[in-house]
Symmetry: C2
Amino acid sequence: MSARDTLLDAYGAILLENGQRATTLSAVAARAGVSKGGLLYHFTSKDALTEGLIDRLDELMAEDITAMRAAPDGPSRYYVRTSVWTDCALDRTLVAVAQLAQESHTGAQEVMDRARRQWLELIRKEVSEEATAHAILLIGDGLYFDAALSGNPGSSREDAITAAELLPVVDRLLAGAQD
Amino acid sequence: MSARDTLLDAYGAILLENGQRATTLSAVAARAGVSKGGLLYHFTSKDALTEGLIDRLDELMAEDITAMRAAPDGPSRYYVRTSVWTDCALDRTLVAVAQLAQESHTGAQEVMDRARRQWLELIRKEVSEEATAHAILLIGDGLYFDAALSGNPGSSREDAITAAELLPVVDRLLAGAQD
DNA sequence: GTCTATACGGGGATAGAC
DNA sequence: GTCTATCCCCGTATAGAC
C-alpha cells in the first residue's frame, strides 16, 4: 500500500473516531507510522490531505453507483442494505467526509451533495412516487447519522438495527408506492 | 435575555454554521457582543460552555417529549413533523450538540443517545412492529443529518422535502405495520 | 523519502484595571 | 460585570540534514 493511502487511512480513521479537532498533523503522522515531516512530503499542507480524502470518496462513490445500478434486488434495497454500517471503505470515508462538510468545507459539502443526488436519482427510477423515494433516501441518511454520532461505529450498539430487519419495511414502502 | 443565554446562543450558532473548529472563545464572545474576558466571567472554561449547551438540550428535550406524548396526531407523526428543519431552539441545539457528539464528547454522546431512546420508546407505543418503529426514527435522524450537512440549514435547499410530503409516507408505514 | 529543528500564529486561560 | 494585557501551549508549515 502506498504511503499516501496509508496516510489517508489514518486521517480518515481519526476523523471518524475522534472528529476534526483531533486530526492534527502529528496525530495523523503518528497513526500512519511516520513523522510530521514525512507526512508533509506526501501532502504539502493539511488542505491537500483533506482534498485527498474527498477525491477518494469520489472514486468510491463512482464504484458504489455502478454497483447500485446493477443490483439484482433493485437500487432501493441495495441502498438501504449498504447504508447499514459495515465498516467498509465507503462507509468510513463517507462519514469522515461528512464531518468535513459539517465544518463548512465547500469541497466536502459538494461531494456529499453529489452523492445524495446520485442515490436519489437511482431510487427514483424504481420508485416513481417522490415522497417515498425521499423517505428511502432519508432512512439511509439516518443510518449514516447514527454511525457518525457513535464516534466509533465499529463497536455497534446492541440495539442497532440490521439490514435483515429493515428490508421488509423497505419492501412495504416500495409496494405501497406502486398504486 | 441573560448574558449566559446570549453566549450559549452564539456558541450554538457558530457550532451549527461553521463547526467545532470555528468555535473559538473570541469568535463566540464577538458574536455575543462581549470580549473574551467577558465570556470567561460567565463560563469559566470552554468545557463549561459546552456543558451549558448540553444542559440546554436536556431541557428542550424534556419539553419535546412532553409535547410528543400529548400530540393529537400521535407520536410518530409528531416526531417526523418536527424533525423537518424549522429553525427552532430544539433543532438548532440538537444539531449543534450532534457536532460535539461526533467529536467524541462523552456528555454530548449521552444526551443524544438519551434523546433517540426516548423518541423510539414513544414511537414504539404507537407502532408495535419493531423494524417499522426504527425506520420512522431513522427518517427523523436522516432529516437532522441533512440539516447538519448543509452547514446553514436556515437556507433550505430547493429540493428539500417538506413535512406535508413526508407525512403520507409515515401514514402508510403506520398502516402497514398494523397487520 | 523521511527525519529534526525551528519559526510563527492562534487558541485557551489568568491577572488585574475599571 | 466587562474590559485589556499577557502567558503558555499547540498546531501548521518551512528549512535543511541524512
